[in-house]
């Protein structure tokens, strides 16, 4: 049972980790909680839903290309949505008090949820099960191909991101901007462009997480982003917000905690336990596992 729940937890954790990256990247650069990120996840899931169900049959026959196109559409769409939100709702507030962008983000979140609810559907919709699931068993532990697919995809996205952040010029500029906007600007970095890139990447990863979430649970709904969003944010905080590796580790950790809670304690209280983890981490180690001490006044 333990290993079975561990497998479930790692699958869940892959999704949370991808999702958490968006929170942590934006926080690292703008010091704001992008509350609307959970809606980017949701819209990403819907874009994937439309792509999966509307692509012509001849594309559906060619499996690798089919999924590549679906993920490309969802990720591009979610990334562009994140960039648009930043332009419209956060950029005008860059010099405002710290709570102003958070309130603006909540406004965006309400807007998007209700837009989908009113224009698409208020009910949960079944996700197209185009992915052929085959089951395997290793030493009594059930693993299916979808779980392997989610894990592999999440890991490759994270490795690509890590390479991008540490090895490329743009990644270097992002790290510099996270440390200090003014000095980065003086070094010739276009800070606004870096922020746009951050939202684009974070949003795309959030959209990817949304599609994977839809495929894993088999249904989507307009408010599907809320709880996973809080969990992903918790993951980012647990790992040390602003820290990319932290978000990945935190995501897996949270997925495993959730799966073990469901397995050993009760599924009714799984969200209570996760919020309790969030509160305890914030109280006793607000910098998280990998976080560095940050001075409040800058």
């Amino acid at each position: 049972m333990f290993f079975q729940q561990l497998v479930n937890g790692i699958t869940l954790g892959s999704i949370y980790a991808l999702f958490a990256l968006g929170y942590t990247m934006v926080y690292g650069i703008l010091l704001m909680i992008n509350f609307a990120h959970s809606e980017i996840f949701m819209v990403g899931a819907y874009l994937g839903f439309w792509a999966l169900s509307l692509l012509p049959v001849w594309v559906q026959g060619w499996t690798p290309g089919y999924f590549t196109i679906v993920f490309a559409i969802a990720m591009m769409g979610a990334g562009l949505l994140a960039v648009t939100i930043e332009r419209a709702a956060y950029r005008p507030l860059r010099r405002a008090s710290r709570l102003a962008p958070l309130i603006s983000a909540i406004g965006v979140s309400i807007f998007l949820q209700n837009l989908i609810q009113v224009t698409v559907s208020a009910q949960s919709q079944p996700y197209p099960d185009t992915f052929k699931i085959s089951h395997y068993e290793f030493f009594g532990v059930q693993v299916n191909s979808l779980q392997i697919f989610i894990f592999a995809l999440a890991i490759s996205a994270m490795v690509l991101l890590q390479v991008f952040i540490t090895k490329t010029r743009l990644g270097k500029a992002m790290r510099a901007t996270a440390q200090n906007h003014t000095v980065s600007q003086l070094m010739g970095i276009n800070v606004s462009f870096i922020i746009t890139v951050t939202f684009l990447i974070g949003g795309a990863l959030g959209g990817l997480a949304g599609v994977l979430n839809g495929m894993y649970y088999g249904s989507i709904k307009f408010n599907m982003g809320f709880f996973p969003g809080l969990k992903a944010f918790t993951a980012a905080v647990v790992g040390g917000i602003g820290n990319i590796k932290g978000a990945m580790v935190g995501g897996f950790l949270l997925g495993i905690i959730e799966a073990l809670t469901v397995g050993y304690i009760s599924s009714a209280y799984k969200d209570v336990i996760l919020f309790a983890v969030l509160i305890l981490v914030l109280i006793f180690r607000p910098t998280g596992i990998f976080g560095e001490e940050v001075t409040e006044k800058t």
Binding site: A89, L99, I103, S104, V108, Q113, N114, A268, Y269, I279
Partner: protein
């Protein structure tokens, strides 16, 4: 105490809130009286939340939890046979104690972290209410079949109709406004505003940050619990679904749109966000309710960008925002 500068306006307003519901009631428009009563409840909540958000600058996204705690405590007490007036201090103590228990560890967190922790706490309370069947009757809510929430008696008079409760709510709202108004101009209130403006400078001026924040947090929690107490006696029923995260968000939006820190702004915000949608719903049909939330979302963004001080800001805050704008 001298009369406020705008006393004619206030007197007219008081007269309207005293007489208008009575007229509506006589005309037989009970629905309108109920909506006005609901606006009153939200006003009490808004005034309470304003002490945390407007005065102290702590973004509380789980305020509805204290409304829920007040409502459930009152329901349980009432079912056990304790009258409204005897139960009221108990509800206040329970609400205040839980608020203190939550506040003591989390109040030192930074603004946005605090927002997330209070949000998490609000959801924990809701989930516990749903799952703690033995005490709360789970999603079915209280009272259980065969039980009854006792009526509120005032001397020998029993409150039964909406209009009776309207005056009870109004009385409590006026008390809440009075407390909030006196608080704002007290030593404590100025300390709260100093913390909002610059915590470090406030600390250096000798303000005990932790204690001051905790006092404001607890007062605001007690006001929320009292609102829940009144609501459950009026509504005679309570279930967890009334206390979702979106209710907390609605409360915060009222403050943001109306104008944080100013009681009149809050009243305007509540009227705009509770009464106007209700009126539009009865005229335009339920489809409008869905679009209402879309409009709220957009409105929140637009207002925070173009009029961050809200529609009716407090004079002090407006001044601060203006000078802050000139500096940058």
């Amino acid at each position: 105490m001298t009369l406020p500068r705008r006393w004619p306006l206030i007197a007219t307003g008081l007269l309207v809130v005293l007489i208008l519901p009575l007229v509506l009631n006589q005309l037989g428009n009970l629905y309108a009286v109920r909506v006005i009563g609901l606006v009153g409840i939200y006003c009490i909540l808004g005034v309470g939340l304003n002490i945390t958000i407007g005065y102290t600058g702590l973004l509380d996204l789980g305020y509805i939890a204290f409304y829920a705690i007040g409502a459930y405590t009152a329901a349980i007490l009432s079912i056990a046979g304790i009258s409204f007036w005897l139960g009221l201090p108990i509800v206040m103590i329970v609400g205040g104690a839980i608020r203190l228990g939550l506040g003591a560890p989390v109040l030192r967190l930074r603004g946005d972290y605090l927002a997330i922790v209070t949000l998490g706490f609000g959801e924990i309370v809701r989930l516990v209410l749903i799952n703690l069947d033995a005490i709360t009757n789970g999603p079915k809510g209280l009272p259980r079949v065969g039980e009854k929430i006792a009526e509120v008696k005032f001397l020998s008079f029993t409150l039964t109709e909406n209009i009776h409760f309207y005056y009870l709510i109004l009385a409590f709202l006026l008390i809440a406004i009075f407390i909030s108004h006196r608080l704002e101009h007290s030593r404590l209130g100025r300390a709260l505003i100093a913390i909002r403006e610059d915590e470090l400078a406030a600390k250096l001026s000798g303000i005990n940050i932790a204690r001051t924040k905790a006092v404001a947090f607890v007062i605001s929690g007690i006001i929320g619990a009292v609102a829940g107490d009144i609501y459950v006696h009026w509504n005679q029923f309570v279930s967890p679904e009334s206390f979702t995260f979106w209710e907390s968000v609605l409360l915060v939006s009222m403050l943001v749109i109306g104008g944080m820190g100013n009681v009149w702004g809050i009243l305007l915000g509540v009227v705009l966000l509770v009464a106007v949608p209700e009126v539009l719903r009865s005229t335009l049909g339920t489809a409008f309710v869905d679009y209402r939330m879309i409009a709220f979302g957009l409105l929140m963004v637009v207002i925070i960008i173009f009029r961050p001080q809200g529609l009716l800001p407090s004079r002090r805050r407006e001044l601060e925002l203006k000078t802050a704008g000139e500096e940058s």
